[in-house]
């Protein structure tokens, strides 16, 4: 029984590779005029861009280390350096990469990640990002500052928003000092407006998957989201998603699905398994099952952004995210996703080094099945550390799950 499954790439992907290539080129160009700010993936990127920084996202580098499987050799170096195998494997991959002086960027004939002038985190996603950035802060003796957002937020209350907005504003003096430029409110508002435009388009891309058959899968989404992560607030991301959306609309018009003969639709909960993206995508194609939605790809949808209220709306956008919410709003969100995307079952990835973005440990799958009647499967694995992944068990779990869906 050999596989004839094939991935359908987008025409637009070529443009995306250029956009991303250009971004990395500018970032790593020693002659660049701008200062470098490292930023967490759901950190205050708009403020940094608005203050004239080139913004670099180490989690994106972490994902590249995972996807290229370089992480496998690099994580142990960080482990030996005192960073436990139990903590975030983006962190351990990235620090391993730094210790060894090897990066996937080298394959693009670029030097490794740019050295930071300032490191800016937001703990809305986890504490690991702060520990990660502080390592580099000590290495390079540069400021490491951030926003301490509460986690497991129920209602996004005004008290929380005011606090987080104040914290974002309080970053400005250090950023001014590092950049040598004064904060410019108009420029900041402009970036917020651009970021919002990017969000609207990126959301449009993800929403396209509500069509049957779905023109795009979660696996495509994890690649296509690059510009929404690293270039939000920049015009190039907006231009790119306009191209991609046009192609998606074409697929919808012509009934072209990402998965040939789509029979079942699944929601992916949790982190991607970067080193296995392709083989998993192919297995789902073989099983005529489309992974149509995820909270992961939706993490870069910041609908609350509003240039008329820049700090407060930014606080709201970054506090409303799924990852920093309590189980009640998370479940309500999942219910909406299941309905909107016409999902038949939910796949929970229990990423062993990221409990922050794994939702199968507090009985949620069982509660959700009771509420929605949709079955679930939990797969133990990891975002980057393939020592925590069992290929055979995962394949069998997925196959058995789809068998179960076919009985319904």
């Amino acid at each position: 029984m050999t596989s004839s499954a094939e991935l359908k790439d987008f025409e637009a992907s070529k443009t995306m590779r250029n956009v991303m290539g250009q971004y990395f080129k500018e970032l790593t160009d020693p002659a660049r005029p701008k200062k470098i700010a490292w930023c967490t993936s759901v950190g205050p990127a708009e403020l940094l861009r608005g203050m004239g920084f080139e913004v670099y996202f180490p989690e994106n580098h972490g994902a590249m280390l995972g996807a290229t499987r370089m992480a496998t050799d690099l994580i142990p170096l960080a482990n030996a350096h005192g960073f436990s195998p139990d903590i975030c494997s983006y962190l351990t991959s990235d620090i391993g990469s730094y210790l060894k002086g090897e990066s996937p960027l080298n394959k693009m004939k670029l030097p490794g990640p740019p050295k930071a002038d300032v490191l800016v985190y937001n703990t809305n996603q986890c504490r690991d990002v702060k520990d990660w950035f502080e390592f580099y802060g000590r290495e390079w003796n540069v400021p490491c500052i951030g926003v301490h957002t509460p986690r497991a937020i129920g209602d996004v209350s005004d008290t929380i928003l005011t606090d987080v907005a104040n914290q974002i504003e309080a970053l400005i003096p250090t950023l001014e000092e590092v950049s040598g430029q004064k904060f410019d409110m108009d420029k900041f508002k402009e970036v917020i407006a651009l970021s919002k435009q990017c969000t609207v388009l990126w959301k449009g891309v993800l929403d396209a998957a509500a069509n049957v058959p779905s023109p795009i899968s979660f696996f495509d989404g994890t690649i296509q989201m690059g510009p929404a992560v690293v270039l939000r607030g920049a015009q190039s991301a907006i231009d790119y998603y306009e191209i991609l959306l046009a192609e998606l609309n074409d697929r919808i018009k012509n009934g072209i699905g990402a998965v040939e003969g789509e029979k079942y639709r699944i929601h992916w909960e949790g982190m991607p398994i970067w080193g296995k993206l392709k083989s998993l995508a192919l297995q789902f194609i073989e099983l005529q099952t489309a992974v149509v939605s995820s909270t992961y790809c939706n993490s870069w949808v910041f609908e609350a952004l509003d240039p008329t209220e820049p700090f407060k709306s930014m606080a709201r956008a970054y506090c409303e995210l799924f990852i920093c919410r309590s189980d009640e709003p998370k479940e309500a969100y999942l219910e909406r996703m299941i309905e909107k995307y016409k999902v038949d079952g939910v796949f929970y990835h229990n990423a062993k080094t990221c409990p922050n973005n794994s939702n199968s440990s507090y009985n949620m799958p069982q509660r959700m099945q009771k509420k929605t009647g949709k079955p679930y499967v939990i797969v133990d694995g990891d975002l980057n550390d393939l020592r925590l992944y069992s290929e055979e068990q995962t394949r069998t779990n997925i196959e058995a799950f789809v068998e179960q869906l076919s009985q319904s």
Binding site: Q369, D380, Q393, T396, E399, A400, E403, Q407
Partner: protein
């Protein structure tokens, strides 16, 4: 082999190539198990499958051409050239167990390298399933390791555990750590029967913490086929009687054969 082979007789075959052994089951048109065979899975699954089938049909004088459909399951399910279809072992254990006990049930299959809990509703439809975390705890591999540490043959364990009069406990999740605990017990002069019982209890704990039992408890797989006392302990821990499926070790292969028969219809 039972019964006469007539010209109209048709057979269905299921093969379950597991992590350590390959099981083959042949059923007739009435879905009765008429022949079975077991061997090591080895390193060439296709060859193992062929050898098992060739030898079995010869031994039981079954005309191979009368096997109208075959299904494969288990880790090696993709490697059986003559299989007409495949299903996962989760589906096959469900199918096999429901054939024997037609009611709402929880199946616990303890294999050489993994354990599974499968929930079926009263119509045999699967509600849910779970595989153990990728680790030897609560699997046949754990029991084999303990037997090795105690210089015993695995076939001796069931009788020894039954004789135990003192509960000893092995606390660790990890097979290697549990094996070190065994060494400590040996050093302390603990009776071997109690150590074996302790190892059984450790498997029980790993199974009990995996999932709940709803409806009848049915147990399948080679580990309980060879150690019925372990099944009894698992039943006690869940507070319900554990029913060992007939030919428990062949249950996956039997379920695959049932799928083959179903497809032929």
């Amino acid at each position: 082999m039972t019964g006469e082979q007539t010209d109209t007789m048709q057979y269905y075959c299921g093969i379950d190539i597991g992590a350590s052994s390959a099981k083959l089951a042949i059923i007739d048109s009435d879905h009765q198990l008429v022949a079975k065979a077991i061997g090591r899975s080895g390193i060439d699954y296709a060859k193992t499958a062929e050898q098992l089938l060739t030898e079995l049909v010869e031994k039981e004088s079954i005309d191979r051409s009368k096997i109208v459909k075959s299904f494969s399951t288990g880790y090696g399910r993709d490697n059986v050239p003559w299989a007409d279809g495949k299903m996962t072992e989760i589906a096959c254990h469900g199918k096999g167990a429901f054939f024997h006990f037609k009611e709402r049930m929880t199946i616990i299959d303890i294999g050489a390298q993994d354990s599974k809990v499968i929930h079926l509703n009263e119509t045999g439809k699967r509600d849910n399933f779970k595989m153990n975390r990728k680790c030897a705890a609560g699997t046949g591999a754990f029991i084999e390791e303990i037997a090795y540490r105690l210089a015993l043959d695995v076939s001796e364990l069931n009788a020894l555990a039954e004789k135990s009069t003192n509960e000893v406990s092995l606390g660790s999740f990890c097979t290697v750590f549990a094996a070190t605990e065994v060494l400590a017990k040996i050093r302390a002069g603990v009776d071997v029967t109690d150590i074996v019982r302790g190892a059984f209890n450790s498997v029980v704990k790993r199974i009990v913490e995996m999932d709940r039992v709803e409806g009848m408890l049915v147990m399948t797989g080679g580990v309980v086929a060879n150690n019925p006392f372990l099944a009894k302990l698992i039943g006690l821990a869940f507070g319900t009687e554990a029913h060992i499926a007939p030919n428990a070790q062949y249950n996956g292969a039997f379920g695959a054969a049932l799928f083959a028969a179903e497809q032929a219809r």
